[in-house]
Amino acid sequence: MGDHHHGPAKGLSRWLFTTNHKDIGTMYLWFSFAMFLLGGTFAMIIRAELFQPGMQLVEPAFFNQMTTLHGLVMVFGAIMPSFVGLANWLIPMMIGAPDMALPRLNNWSFWILPPAFLLLASTLFMEGGAPAAGWTFYAPLSTTYAGPSVTIFIFCIHILGVSSIMGSINIIATVMNMRAPGMSYMKMPLFVWTWLITAFLLVAVMPVLAGAVTMMLMDVHFGTSFFSAAGGGDPVLFQHIFWFFGHPEVYIIILPAFGVVSQIIPAFSRKPLFGYDSMVYATAAIAFLSFIVWAHHMYTVGMPVAGELFFMYATMLIAVPTGVKVFNWITTMWRGALTFETPMLFCIGFLVLFTIGGFTGLMLSIAPADFQYHDSYFVVAHFHYVMVAGAVFSMTAAVYFWLPKWCGKMYNETMGKTHFWISFIAFNVTFFPQHFVGLAGMPRRIPDYSLQFADFNMMSSIGAFVYGASQLLFLYNVIATIVAGKPVSDDKVWDGAEGLEWTVATPAPYHTFEVPPKIDPAHAHF
C-alpha cells in the first residue's frame, strides 16, 4: 500500500524516469509548445522574406530549408505530440483508469522525441544545410539531389515513427483494457473515441512512412532505384507511398481536435452533444475514407482518368461525414445556455475557420479545378485553415479548458480572451489573402514573387507577425497561472463540464482512480 501512494520523485529524475501519465503528459505538452515556437520562428523567417518582392534576408536555398523545417517541426513536433500529451493527461482520467496501460513504454515514447528533433535542428549547421525538399520531400529532389542531411532526416523520421507507434499502442491498450467497469465503448467521451481511432490510423500508416524513408535511404546510399526511372524505378511511386501515409496523417492531426471540440462545446452550451452515436460513426467513416483518397494530392502527376475520377469521388465523399460533425456541433449549441469563456471562444473560432477550410477542401477535391489550385497558395491557405485554425485552435482551447484541473489555478480570463481575439483576427489577416494570391497564380514554396502579389503578401506577413507574437501572450498566461493563478478548489471547474476527470480533486492528484469509479448505468455517455 505504502508504495502505491508515493508522490512524485524529486528533481530531474522525476522527469527522466517517470512513468506517471500526468508527468509524461506535461512533458509532451511543454515539448510540443517549444516546437511550436521553433517552427513559428521558421515561419517568421519565411514571412519576413516574403514581406516584399525581391530577395532581402535569406538566400533561396536557405528559404527552402525554412519551409521544409517549418512543416516538419509543426506537424511532427508541435501538433502531433501536443495531442499525445493531452491523451496522456486525459484518457486515463476520462475512462477511470489509474494510469496508461504501458507506463514504461510511455516514458520511452516521449524521451526519444527531444533527441530526434535536436538532430533534425542540427542539420541546419551541416554542410549543405538542412533538408530542403519540403515537408512532403518528393523524390528524387529528396534523394539523389539532396544534401548529406537527408540521412539524418531519415533517421529522425524513423525515431518519430517509433515514438508515435509506441504511443498509439499504449493508447489502444489503455482504452481496450483499462476502462472502469461499466464504461462501455459507447459511453466513452468523444475525445477518447477520436483518439482510439487516431491511434489505429497511426499504427497503420507510420510504418508506411518508415518504408518510404527506408527506400530513400537505399536509393541514396545503396544504389537501388526505387524512385529513379533511370534504374527502372518510379518517382511517382514515392508520392503514392507518401500520401498513403500523408492523407491519413492529416486526419491523425484533426480527429483528436474534433474530440476536444466535442467535449468543450457541450460544456459551455450546458447541453449534451446532439448526436453522440453519429459523431462516433462519422469519425470512423472519416478514418476509413482517409485511406482511399490519397491521390487527390496528385491530380497533376498524370494518372489515368479512371484513377482521377475514383479519387475525386472518394474525396468529395469525405465532406459528408465532415459536414455531419459540423452540423452536430452547431445543433449542440442550438438552444443551449451559452457562455463564452476562452475555451469556448477558441472552439467557436475553430468551428468557423475549420468549416472554411473544409469548404476549400471540397473545392480542391474537384479534380479539374485542382489543376488550377494545385501547388498554389490556395492550398497553403486551405491547410492552414484546417491545421492552425483547426488543430492548433482546438489544442489551445483544450489547454485553457483543462489547465485549472491540472494545476488547480484559474488562468486570467481577460488575457485569454485577448489572446483569442488577436489570434483569430491575425490568423485571418495572414491566411485569408493567401486564397486570393493562390487563385491568381502564385505558386507555393517560392522565396520571391512577381509584383501583382505584393500587397496581399505584405498583409499576410503582418498578420503572421501578430499571430506569432500573440502566442507569447498565451505562454505568459499559462506560466502566470501555474505560478500565481487564483486557486480553484471545485472538482468541477466549469459548471457545464461532464466526465470523470471532473470528479477527481482539483488540482488532479498525482494518482487518480486507483480504485475504479462507480459508473452510473443510467448515464447515457460521457
Partner: protein, 392 residues
C-alpha cells in the same frame, strides 16, 4: 463552482458579438466579392478565366462550388450566430436538453450527398475533356531542367527547332539594386510560341527532378517527371502573352523558372518557325567554322550568364557549384574541362550540358571559363573540338 463563471462577469458583451457577426458577414461578402473581381492585373482576387474553353469550364466549376460553399456557409454560420446571440446564458435562457434525432441525421447526410452528386457531374465531363489528347494539330516537348524549360517542336517539316527558355529578370532587380519591371520574375529570354485556335499537345517531362508546367490562363498544369512523359493540351482562343511558373518545388531556384507563352496568329507562327529553322541551319554552319578568342569570349560570356551563373556565381566565385576562378578543372587539362561541361557530374546540380547547348555555345563557354575570372589559360576551344570530344 468557480465563481468566475457568473454570467454577468464573464460572458461576452453584445458588442463583442456584433464584432464577430460583422466579421463573419465580412467573410461571407468577401467570397462573392471575389467572384466579381474577375482577374484585374494588380491584386487579382480570383482564378483567371483564361483564353481556352477548358479554362472557361474550370472557372465555371470553381464558381459553382464556391457559391455552393457560400450558401452552405451562410446557412451554417447563420444558425450558429443566431444561437450565439439568442441562446446565451446571460439572457436567462434555460438550456434545452434535446439530443439525438435519426431523422435530422439522415437529412444532413443525404442532402449534402445529393449536392455532391450534382457537382460531380459537370466535374466529370470537364475532366474527360481535359483527358482528350486526340487530334492535336501539333506537338511540343516540354522538358523541365533545374532551373529552366526546354521546348522542342516535334514532327515539323524541315530543321527541327529546340531551345531553352531562361528567366531574364536581371539579378540586380532580384537583389533590389535596380527597380523591378512590371514582368518581374515572369519574363524569359525566349518564350514558347504557339499559334492561336490550334490544338497544341504538350509532352511534358523532366531531366533531373520533378517540375510542374503551369500557365493559369491556358488552364494547363502538368507535372514534369524525369523518366516519364505526361500529356496535356491547350487550344488558345486569343492572341496574347500568357505567363506562368514552375509549380512543383524543384530545388534552389524553383521560384525562378517562369514560363512565357506567346500565342500568335497562324501566319506569324509560320513566319516565326521559318526563322527559327533558318537559325538552326545557321548554327550548323557555324559549327564548321573557327573563331577568334574575342568572338568566343563574347559568346561565352552570354552563355555563361544564362546557364552557369546561377550556381557558379557572377565572378566565378562559386555557390551551389564550385568556384570557376582558379578551379583546378578550368585551369587544368582541357579534356577534363570538356568532360565535365559535356557530361556533367552525376547526382549533383552540375548537369550534362552536352545535350542542352550546341557545340558552338559549348566551345564558347568553355573558352570563356578558361580565360575569364583571372584564369587566363590562353587556350581556345573550337566547335570542332567539342564535336570530336563528343564522338569520343
Amino acid at each position: 463552482m468557480f465563481s468566475g463563471l457568473e454570467l454577468e462577469n464573464y460572458s461576452m458583451s453584445l458588442n463583442t458579438f456584433k464584432r464577430l457577426l460583422a466579421f463573419a458577414a465580412g467573410v461571407l461578402v468577401t467570397l462573392p466579392g471575389l467572384a466579381l473581381a474577375a482577374g484585374g492585373e494588380k491584386n487579382a482576387l480570383n482564378m483567371p478565366v483564361g483564353v481556352t474553353d477548358v479554362g472557361r469550364s474550370i472557372f465555371d466549376l470553381h464558381m459553382i462550388i464556391l457559391w455552393i460553399c457560400v450558401a452552405i456557409g451562410a446557412l451554417v454560420f447563420g444558425v450558429m450566430f443566431y444561437s450565439i446571440i439568442y441562446h446565451r446564458k446571460s439572457r436567462g435562457v434555460k438550456p434545452a436538453q434535446f439530443h439525438e434525432s435519426t431523422k435530422v441525421e439522415i437529412a444532413w447526410t443525404v442532402v449534402p450527398f445529393l449536392i455532391l452528386i450534382t457537382m460531380a457531374v459537370p466535374a466529370t465531363s470537364t475532366l474527360l475533356d481535359i483527358y482528350d489528347f486526340d487530334d492535336a494539330d501539333m506537338d511540343v516537348l516540354v522538358t523541365g531542367y533545374q532551373w529552366k524549360w526546354k521546348y522542342e517542336y516535334l514532327a515539323e517539316d524541315g530543321e527541327s527547332v529546340a531551345f531553352f527558355s531562361n528567366l531574364s529578370t536581371p539579378q540586380a532587380e532580384i537583389y533590389n539594386t535596380d527597380g523591378k519591371n512590371e514582368n518581374y520574375l515572369l519574363e524569359v529570354d525566349e518564350p514558347l510560341v504557339i499559334p492561336v485556335d490550334t490544338k497544341v499537345r504538350f509532352l511534358v517531362t523532366a531531366n533531373d527532378v520533378i517540375h510542374s508546367w503551369w500557365v493559369p490562363e491556358l488552364a494547363v498544369k502538368k507535372d514534369a517527371i524525369p523518366g516519364f512523359i505526361n500529356e496535356t493540351w491547350t487550344r488558345a482562343n486569343e492572341i496574347g502573352t500568357y505567363r506562368g511558373q514552375c509549380a512543383e518545388l524543384c530545388g534552389k531556384d524553383h521560384g525562378f523558372m517562369p514560363i512565357v507563352v506567346e500565342v500568335v496568329s497562324k501566319e506569324d507562327y509560320a513566319a516565326w518557325l521559318g526563322e527559327k529553322q533558318e537559325q538552326a541551319a545557321k548554327v550548323k554552319e557555324l559549327m564548321a567554322q573557327t573563331f577568334s578568342l574575342e568572338e568566343l569570349m563574347a559568346r561565352g560570356k552570354a552563355v555563361y550568364e544564362r546557364n552557369c551563373l546561377a550556381c557558379h556565381g557572377a565572378r566565378g566565385e562559386g555557390g551551389v557549384g564550385t568556384a570557376i576562378a582558379g578551379s583546378p578543372i578550368a585551369t587544368g587539362e582541357l579534356g577534363g574541362h570538356l568532360e565535365i561541361g559535356i557530361n556533367g557530374v552525376a547526382g549533383t546540380a552540375m548537369q550534362a550540358f552536352g545535350g542542352q547547348l550546341n557545340d558552338v555555345d559549348l566551345a564558347a563557354v568553355i573558352t570563356y571559363q578558361r580565360n575569364a575570372f583571372g584564369n587566363n589559360m590562353g587556350d581556345l576551344v573550337q566547335p570542332i573540338d567539342v564535336f570530336n570530344y563528343k564522338q569520343g
